[in-house]
Amino acid sequence: MIEIKELHKSYKMGANSLHVLKGLNFSIKEGELVAIMGSSGSGKSTLLNILGMLDEADSGEYTLDGVPIKNLNETKAAKYRNKFLGFVFQSFNLINYKSALENVALPLYYQKVPRKQREEKALKYLEQVGLKEWAEHLPNELSGGQKQRVAIARAMAAEPKVLLADEPTGALDSKTSYEVMDLIQKINDQGNTILVVTHEEDIAHMCKRIVHLKDGVIVEDKKVEQVRASQYV
């Protein structure tokens, strides 16, 4: 599903250049649930943003679902993002003047799904994350956990090939974190490919594989016994 080879990325800051990703290689198969672990500043978000086509690598190869991702213009990138990818951010990134339902329906708007179908589908996904009753509420009327569940519903609504989550539990307390992880595990159980960036051990162990980043290189890449989040909920 995802394949990267010799991926490099550095940030230029004036005369200095910060080499953040130093030749990463890995591949992720369909249906995997992968944690990208590492301490703060190790380049996890940078990697995820490149995988999400929100940013570009300086060099290296990236193939998504058999499609080489290279020299994309913004329009193409937007279309690929819309078709292939769902995003979940640490800070939720909901549009604050849109209701939960409208937020979830937004990616479908860019897929040109007719309004009625959009709303039906969005409602279906809200139901899956247990927020059907909150459909008409604005983000600021929701708790952090609820916001993140809306964000997950939004990411899933477009039925992406890969779900990319950058510290999805970073802003949540541990109980809420486990609820969110429980949801992510269930989505994975349905066969969806998911990448979760985290710096928390317990969250990482709720995935099936951990890729450990340190100073821009992969220091460890191992399969783990998945800890089910449902037991803590």
């Binding site: 943003n49 937007a78 993002r81 819309n82 549009i95 849109k98 937004l106 860019y110 309004r115």
Partner: protein
């Protein structure tokens, strides 16, 4: 880009961002409103100028005499020139092609009395055709006629306000008034669009005035109406040959600025209209300045709007919004708001102009108005430039990498 769905998305955004909508809408509406009002005022100025002069006929020359300042053909300078009845006859004889009517005019200030009421008025001693040049409108009774001139009758035609002053609103026709010691019969009452001053005049036969003044045949001034068909050029030619004719007859140096004066109402009107046009151009200039200010205002608001929405646009991009969709979102919204508020501002402006009517006449603005196509044109200009102004920041926003936009707080 213009599907129903897009519009719905835009309406929702507009509804949920009321302050933003209000700010840009208000700027545009105000810009157009001020434009319409200013432009209307420009037209109001023109109206005022037209009114000043259109109460009198415009195909008229007034010829006055004065003192010469140059010697000519054996005559010394500082000679007093006077018209008399023969001059009227000579002009009539020499310019039949140009002339429509001619009337002498002798003006005197006299005390006029009826019973206990008395007042000072201008007494115009004229011929019947004077009615055309002044555009005197008879309210009741009749104007002077040829028999009045021939028989040197003591008949008078008085202004509406003279009747009001002396008769307190009662009918003056048939009554006798005292003008400078002679008794005159009121044969008619007139009104005049020229205003109060002209409605306090009194007309009597010029022959009667000459009789009273020791049977003289002198005339103060000559009023000449020329045929309107001769046009502006014809009038100028007539003025020139009339000037030459009188100078020859009265032995006035052709270079002498004094001696005689011809006031060409048509020419004056033209000059005044030109002056009014210049004023109007200045006002229009200011009005277009407002439009430009409106464009600058809307540009600033668009920059602000795009800045404020950077993060939202980043989210939209992450969810699959193409640059085109981003530009469309911003632009359609701004064009929609400018269009609606532009036309609202335009309508309010037109309503304001309509309600002003004659209320600002003291400020030389009469019946201000704006041609609807002009108002619509200005509104559309603002909409188009508003769209262009919105396009620049919208395109920049569309180019920002989503990752940069998402980082925006």
């Amino acid at each position: 880009m213009f599907s129903r769905d897009n519009w719905k998305e835009i309406f929702e955004t507009i509804q949920k961002n009321k302050l933003r909508t209000f700010l840009s809408g208000f700027t545009v509406a105000l810009g157009i409103l001020i434009f319409v009002v200013l432009f209307g005022f420009g037209n109001g100025l023109i109206n005022t100028f037209d009114d000043f002069f259109s109460d009198d006929a415009t195909n008229v020359f007034m010829v006055f005499t004065g003192r010469t300042t140059m010697p000519y053909k054996g005559y010394k300078a500082n000679r007093n020139i006077e018209f008399d009845n023969s001059d009227i006859a000579d002009i009539e004889k020499n310019f039949p092609l140009f002339l429509e009517y001619i009337s002498p005019r002798i003006v005197r200030q006299d005390t006029v009395a009826y019973k206990n009421e008395s007042n000072n008025y201008s007494i115009y001693a004229v011929a019947p055709s004077h009615q055309f040049s002044e555009m005197t409108i008879m309210m009741k009774g009749r104007y002077l006629d040829v028999l009045d001139i021939k028989n040197k009758t003591k008949n008078a035609v008085i202004g509406r306000l003279v009747e009001q002053d002396l008769f307190g609103g009662r009918n003056a026709v048939g009554k006798y008034i005292d003008i400078g010691g002679s008794s005159f019969k009121v044969i008619g009452v007139f009104q005049d669009d020229g205003g109060d001053r002209e409605e306090r005049n009194i007309f009597i036969p010029y022959t009667t005035r000459q009789l009273i003044e020791r049977n003289t045949d002198k005339i103060d001034a000559i009023v000449i109406g020329f045929k309107p068909q001769i046009g502006y050029a014809g009038a100028m030619a007539f003025e020139k040959s009339l000037d030459k004719f009188i100078r020859e007859k009265k032995y006035i140096n052709p270079q002498d600025q004094n001696g005689i004066f011809i006031r060409n109402v048509a020419d004056q009107l033209r000059q005044n209209q030109q002056f009014a046009r210049v004023l109007q151009i200045i006002v229009a200039f200011v009005a277009f300045g407002t439009i430009i200010a409106g464009i600058i205002g809307i540009s600033n608001i668009m920059v602000f709007v795009v800045k404020e929405r950077t993060k939202e646009l980043g989210i939209r991009k992450a969810l699959g919004a193409t640059p085109r969709a981003v530009i469309g979102t911003i632009l359609l919204e701004s064009v929609f708001i400018t269009t609606v508020s532009g036309f609202v501002g335009m309508l309010i402006g037109i309503v304001i102009l309509g309600s002003i009517d004659e209320k600002l006449e003291d400020f030389f603005i009469t019946n201000p108005y704006i041609d609807i196509p002009m108002a619509i044109f200005a509104t559309i200009v603002l909409i188009i430039f508003g769209a262009i102004a919105g396009y620049v920041p919208a395109r920049r926003a569309a180019r920002i990498k989503p990752i940069v936009a998402l980082r925006d707080e």
